[in-house]
């Protein structure tokens, strides 16, 4: 069996809020294998971004990893020193942010910002750096790369800026890229172009990706495997085709049901009633119980075990009769 590139084991992250301390991520476990694209879906407030920040080690100050391990290649990330982190970030592990408008520094030129990674991690000459930067700019589809090298972010459109952000993440040739909703802030036509770019990157580059989104269309186009998160837990995971064709968890079912579908033209769109429970009202039972159509008595009190079906796992009481996985 192939060794995973990244394995997240039983990670628990808690947030220090004025009202007290709350677990925002509970016992998150998953792996990312080489050359695999893993999607994370879920509503806002489910812990998708927190998961990616925990892996990058850029959690906000009031969030701490209470327990669990994050193993990347052979390093235990939660135990790294500042110096070790600086070596890993950008060269082996990098991140694409959601907002292309704010993730570029307005007073530095595009070229400087892309080549910054090379400056941190390599000893290339200025000329080589520029060459490499321009070739990566071409790779992500930025036209007139040589002129854009000297341009400032405000001179670029949103789509071009996102390409710059992607170039920044790619240039260090990392083994794993975490893309935190990279298409959410873009309009639909640009979104389609960026999705195409990600598909191309996936085919041509030898690396893995964690792709966070709440757009099933984007996830379907890019990802091999998907984790469905709800209220700080992974409730279901499996291959993208399995998840879309036979979702097991009621939450996944509802999410997929709420995708607009041409066959149901004229009917009102399906929405999941209610919202994700706030941190301070989460109880011991299944967090989805209040919004679930298939709720049974035990849902309110006991958090369900995780059950395994071939490559698909689901955390729900409805599957208690099936074979239980040891967790």
């Amino acid at each position: 069996m192939v060794k995973p590139l990244l394995s997240v084991e039983e990670v628990e992250v808690s947030l220090q809020l004025p009202e007290g301390e709350f677990n925002a991520l509970e016992r998150i476990s998953f792996s990312v294998y080489p050359n695999e694209v893993v999607g994370i879906v879920g509503e806002s407030g489910c812990g998708k971004s927190l998961t990616s920040q925990a892996i990058m080690g850029i959690l906000p100050k009031n969030a701490i990893i209470k327990q669990g391990k994050i193993i990347f290649q052979d390093d235990e990330l939660t135990a790294l020193s500042r110096k070790q982190w600086q070596q890993i970030r950008g060269s082996k592990l990098s991140m694409i942010f959601q907002e292309p408008m704010t993730s570029l520094n307005p007073v530095l030129t595009i070229g400087k910002q892309i080549s910054e990674v090379l400056k941190q991690h390599t000893t290339l000459s200025k000329k080589d750096m520029k060459e490499k930067t321009i070739s990566i700019m071409k790779e992500v589809g930025l036209p007139r790369a040589a002129q854009l090298w000297k341009a400032y972010p405000h001179q670029l459109s949103g789509g071009m800026r996102q390409r710059v952000v992607i170039a920044m993440a790619l240039i260090g040739q990392p083994k794993l890229i975490i893309a935190d909703e990279p298409t959410t802030a873009l309009d639909v036509t640009i979104q389609a172009q960026i999705v195409e770019l990600f598909k191309k990157i996936k085919q041509t580059r030898n690396m893995s990706m964690i792709f966070i989104s709440h757009d099933w269309g984007v996830i379907h186009a890019i990802c091999d495997r998907v984790l469905v998160m709800y209220a700080g837990r992974i409730v279901e995971q499996g291959s993208i085709s399995k998840l879309l064709s036979s979702p097991k968890h009621p939450y996944t079912k509802s999410l997929i049901q709420s995708i607009p579908d041409g066959a149901r033209r004229g009917q009102p769109l399906y929405t999941i009633p209610g919202t994700v429970p706030q941190l301070h009202v989460r109880h011991t039972g299944c967090p989805f119980a209040d919004r679930c159509q298939f709720k049974i008595a035990s849902c309110e009190q006991i958090f369900p075990h995780t059950y395994k079906f071939n490559e698909q796992t689901v955390t729900c009481h409805l599957y208690a009769k099936e074979k239980e996985v040891s967790l």
Binding site: M56, I58, K61, R82, W85, Q86, Q87, I88, R89, G90, S91, S94, M95, F97, E99, T102, S103, L104, N105, P106, V107, L108, E116, V117, Q120, H121, V165, M168, G172
Partner: protein
Amino acid sequence: MNKANRLPFYLGLSFVIVLLSMMFISLFYTPYEPNAIDPNNRLATPSLAHPFGTDNFGRDILSRVMVGTQTAFLIGTTTVMIGLSIGFILGACAGYFGGWLDELLMRFIDAMLAFPGILLAIMLIAVFEAGMKNTIIALGIMSIPAFARVIRSSFIQYKSYDFVKASIAKGAGAFHIILKHIFPNAISPILVVSSLSFSGSILAESGLSYLGLGVQPPDPSWGRMLKEAQPYIESAPWYVIIVGSIITIMVLGFNLLSDGLRDIQDRKA
């Protein structure tokens, strides 16, 4: 609307440019030797030969005012440099790292602010000795809090921006982020404080020299000229008026400049 807003900026800029060119000219040329005494021509009224008149020793006031610009600019630039460099280190560390370091540094700055500025300078000069060097040091220390506060607030603002997080995700260290990412963004507020502190320190120097605590003879200083002119305020009023106006123009010029800069910067934001 647009033009009206920029008027103070251009007015201030032109004042500063006039004084700056006066200083450069005085480096190579003054109408008379600034310290040359002419007993026959004491307290002469302004004329073609002496546009600003002469003082109680018959020295040409125009030449002395011109040489005085050198002192003023020297004091202004050096105090700004001292205030800016120390204020930057304190403000950047406090703002970027936050937490207990921020508390500690800012309480220190608060303590400095609680001290009346000119009193601090007088105390330092009384302990050491009066003169150009100690005046500069005292005024430089006085200007640290203003810089530290403004720089700290910029750093607090910018450190939460995504591009800083993106830079951390690229493997950049704190030093790199402070200098390469946040500092260029904070330049415009720094410029505003610099020009304010520039005029403030020139004014403070004039005040100290007027009291005889600042620049000592033979270094020319506007503040001391004002003091020398005081006894003759009735017989030779132009002496006081000219020196006073020059100080006013300098201070007004830099204040207008910083006001204008702030307006331009606010509109941009």
